[in-house]
Amino acid sequence: MDKYRCTVCSYIYDPKIGDPDNGVKPGTPFENLPADWVCPECGVGKDMFEKVSEV
């Protein structure tokens, strides 16, 4: 499962952690986030995220 970075504020979505404050369970891949999910830090939509390339 890939991590995704918010291109606006640099928040990282880690599927292992999910986004429990907003009802996203740990283990949820980015692709399975609901369409109306937004960056918990800055509020922009999923389309503003990019995949974090693994080093």
Partner: protein, 395 residues
């Protein structure tokens, strides 16, 4: 100056800050001052849309009093947390005890971290409406245009958009409307505002404009929170934003340099000559003689940036460091750049500039050029060719 009716039962009750010369701390120089626009809407229910910067609270309250007893305000719409628009909230809330604050969830969070007031809030989301009587307010969240809390308020029947900071200008004037002011000054300030604050948010701005266009809502007037109100030609500023946000540029270069004893300046001048002789518009700025806010504005419609600095302690000079930190935050897209500079022994400035250019996402169009101590005739010729070469890439 009294409260001004901008439309039927809608009044400007803001404040003019004639003499403010630096904004957001020292990140933005406001050489034409600014205004903080707050709007009072009179209906069965009374609403105040945004407030002003704290030191102007009394001025705003006096203007409201000309229209109505401020105790009677039912709602305060807070489109944005930032203190230039929320600063008068504590003062107005002391008088308008029963006024409910209408804002986004992030705005409530931010306001409570600013003022710690035990206030009555109503959180709204995109699509929510608030009926005042004859007039209806509709809300549109606009996260990161330009803070997470940002929201636009739309007056449905009157077709007026109140987008807070978006489409604003730091422009103090006794006039309130676009058709009443000098058009060059107006667009100069609108461009400066976009360049220095909104460049990094271009793709969000484009999407938001498209979203509004798809909603098919007529916009008769745009009443932002700074500067004049766009009533004659709201499309003018919307189209300008579309161009800026699409990273449209002109065949134009901007040369910015910082120099210690003039060697890097000599290089900058020769490079500028080269660009000029290649037929490309170019502007040259000594970073220490020109306001950064103005330079950034000039970079908004320029395709190419030529950035030079002499070496000091194996790195660039400190003001260039600050300038490039700003550029890294702006991340302008679809631009090209190259670095130059003089040095005495080890060098380092040019390498630092190139790293910063890469970090800002700007394409390094050609290898840098350096000269030890003072450039000789041959090196100056090379600088001229360097400029010419760069200009070809702009065409």
């Amino acid at each position: 100056m009294p409260a001004i009716q901008i439309y039927k039962d809608i009044y400007w009750v803001g404040a003019i800050d004639w003499n403010v010369r630096s904004f957001h701390g020292h990140t933005y120089s406001t050489k034409r001052g600014t205004t903080y626009n707050a709007y009072l809407i009179m209906d069965e229910k009374i609403a105040l849309v945004d407030t002003v910067y704290g030191p102007f609270s009394d001025e705003m309250i006096e203007r409201i009093k000309e229209i109505v007893d401020p105790q009677k305000i039912d709602y305060i719409i807070a489109n944005h947390v930032e203190t230039d628009h929320s600063g008068a909230l504590p003062a107005i809330k002391k008088i308008a005890k029963n006024a409910k604050i209408i804002c986004s969830a992030k705005c409530k969070d931010g306001l409570s971290r600013h003022y710690y007031g035990n206030w009555d809030y109503q959180i709204v989301k995109t699509g929510d409406t608030l009926k005042l009587g004859k007039k209806t307010l509709s809300f549109l969240e606009a996260p990161m245009i330009h803070w997470p809390d940002s929201m636009f308020t739309y007056l449905v029947e009157d077709q007026i958009l109140m987008p807070n900071d978006a489409f604003g200008q730091h422009y103090a004037t006794s006039k309130r409307f676009d058709d009443e002011v000098n058009q060059f000054e107006l667009m100069d300030e609108a461009a400066k505002y976009y360049a220095n604050i909104l460049i990094p948010l271009g793709s969000l701005i484009l999407k938001k404009i498209q979203e509004v266009q798809k909603m098919n809502i007529p916009i008769k007037m745009i009443a932002p929170s700074h500067g004049i109100i766009w009533r004659k030609d709201p499309a003018k500023i919307i189209n300008a934003y579309i161009d800026w946000a699409s990273n449209k540029t002109k065949p134009k270069a901007v040369v910015v340099f910082e120099t210690m004893w003039g060697a890097t300046e000599k290089m900058a001048r020769k490079i500028t000559e080269g660009v000029t002789d290649a037929g490309i518009e170019v502007k040259l700025f000594d970073l220490n003689q020109t306001d950064r806010t103005e330079i950034i504005k000039e970079m908004l419609d320029a395709k190419g940036y030529l950035i030079g600095c002499s070496t000091h302690d194996n790195d660039m000079l400190p003001n260039m460091g600050g300038f490039l930190t700003f550029l890294k935050g702006l991340k302008p897209k679809n631009r090209i750049a190259a670095a130059f500079g003089s040095y005495g022994w080890a060098g380092g400035a040019v390498k630092g500039i190139e790293e910063a250019i890469k970090e800002s996402g700007v394409e390094l169009a050609q290898p840098s050029i350096s000269a030890r101590y003072v450039p000789d005739e041959n090196e100056l010729k090379n600088c001229y060719e360097f400029g010419k070469e760069f200009a070809k890439k702009i065409k």
